[in-house]
């Protein structure tokens, strides 16, 4: 070490005393305390006695002693609330010296910086996690949008197909209606529509004429199915029951009661016209003998 003038050495000693609060203990090979001094009380160390087993008194010494020739350094040991010490252990012929130097100022400075650094690090980890979560949610949303777009596209195609089908059906229905109207109005055969409660909703002139009624009678509600269709005999009751199920009557010669009470026999068959209102449509013609 460089030779330093006494005033400098004294100044350094005073500075060390002020800043580092040096304290020491000397421990023999058996762990017994043989000497101590310095600012031990500032580290909360008191009540020491000669030859006492110092490790029993100071927990941070347990397991540390004896030290090997290289010595041991324990930085920043909290000795009491808010007091930290750098602790050096080194062997000399007298035994193991334990030197404590105040590290509180350094610890506080480091603590502030370290707290800030770790807080930032934790915040960064949180942000990374949030980023991963958002990425996951975004991916899921993109998938859902893609799936819903595909479903929407399929629905549009299906609706277009249904619309085309509906148009075809409407055209077919209109054609069918036209043909029916033509048949109805031609009066080539008698046509009558009736419902389960006996109301005759429609009948063409030839049918009405076959049983002696006029169109005006129909308009005034003077004609009902039960009125013109006589009580079925046993055989026809079965047909009547079938009609309840199917709204259809097989082709047969069937008696009808005319307006004047007489009976006329017509070749007659019927089929369903509208299921919801239990409406049938019947076709009648004069039997050929």
């Amino acid at each position: 070490m460089a030779e330093l003038p006494v005033p400098i050495r004294d100044f350094i000693d005073a500075l060390t005393d002020d800043l580092l609060a040096p304290a020491f203990m000397l421990v023999d090979d058996e762990g017994g305390l043989s000497a101590w001094g310095g600012a031990l009380e500032s580290y909360g160390i008191a009540g020491l006695e000669e030859n006492m087993q110092v490790a029993d008194h100071l927990p941070f010494l347990v397991g540390i002693l004896p030290v090997d020739s290289g010595g041991v350094f324990l930085p920043n040991v909290q000795t009491q609330a808010d007091v930290f010490a750098d602790i050096y252990f080194f062997n000399r012929p007298q035994g193991t010296w334990i030197l404590l130097l105040d590290a509180t100022k350094n610890v506080k400075t480091r603590q502030t910086l370290q707290q800030r650094a770790y807080d930032i690090s934790l915040r960064a980890a949180d942000l990374e996690q949030e980023g991963k979560t958002l990425y996951g949610v975004n991916t899921m949303l993109e998938q859902r949008v893609s799936e819903q777009t595909r479903e929407l596209s399929e629905t549009v195609v299906r609706l277009q197909q249904e619309l085309a089908e509906s148009k075809r059906t409407q055209r077919a229905l209109a054609f069918s209606e036209a043909r029916f109207r033509s048949l109805y109005e031609s009066n080539m055969i008698g046509i009558v529509s009736w419902t389960a409660n006996g109301t005759i909703s429609r009948a063409n002139d030839i049918f009405l004429q076959s049983i002696g009624y006029l169109r005006d009678d129909l308009a005034r509600g003077l004609i009902t199915w039960n009125q013109i269709s006589p009580d079925p005999d046993t055989a026809n009751r079965e047909a009547s029951d079938r009609w309840q199920d199917t709204l259809a009557l097989q082709p047969e010669e069937r008696d009808f009661i005319c307006k004047d009470g007489s009976r006329t026999r017509l070749l007659f068959c019927a089929g369903p016209r509208e299921e919801s209102t239990k409406q049938s449509i019947g076709f009648a013609t004069q039997p050929r003998y």
Partner: protein, 161 residues
């Protein structure tokens, strides 16, 4: 207490020694030594708990803090997967310093189940190591007493031969 920063080492010690918990994170600089007497079987045992500062990496870890240790608790934060891998690396460093002494792995913050990041792959890897792993929560106290007592038992068994 070994583990990277902010995994809850200080909180676990405070929960075990003083039965208190604070949710605010205060970084530890250096080391704080606490003492607690526990009953292991019919034997009273003094546990000297060295709450050692966490580090970013295992290379920054100061081995002198482990001098004379009879055992250690490796602590990881179950909500931060990387802390588990850092704990594994620290275990290697610890074994270099003190040899094969008893230790347990604590997966802390088990109260934050919805943020848990220890999945089947990590669990399977730990199973293969045949380590004792305990889920703990310094906040609720779940598993804390069990963990320290389990380590004390292991250390007593090893000491008694």
């Amino acid at each position: 207490m070994l583990g990277t920063f902010a995994v809850g080492k200080t909180s676990l010690v405070r929960r075990f020694v003083e039965s208190i918990y604070s949710g605010k994170y205060h970084t530890t600089v250096g080391v704080k030594v606490d003492k607690k007497v526990v009953q292991v079987g019919d034997q009273e045992t003094s546990l000297l708990l060295w709450d050692i500062e966490g580090t970013e990496t295992e290379h920054e870890f100061r081995k002198s803090y482990l001098r004379g240790a009879s055992g250690y608790l490796l602590v990881a934060d179950g909500t931060r997967q990387d802390t588990l891998y850092k704990a594994l690396a620290l275990q290697t460093r610890a074994e270099e310093a003190v040899g094969q002494v008893p230790f347990l792995l604590l997966l802390n913050k088990s109260d934050l189940a919805d943020q848990w990041q220890i999945g089947p792959r990590e669990t399977e890897a730990l199973d293969q190591k045949n380590w004792t792993v305990i889920n703990t929560s310094a906040k609720t106290g779940h598993g804390v007493e069990d963990a320290f007592l389990a380590l004390a038992e292991k250390m007593v068994v090893k000491t008694n031969g």
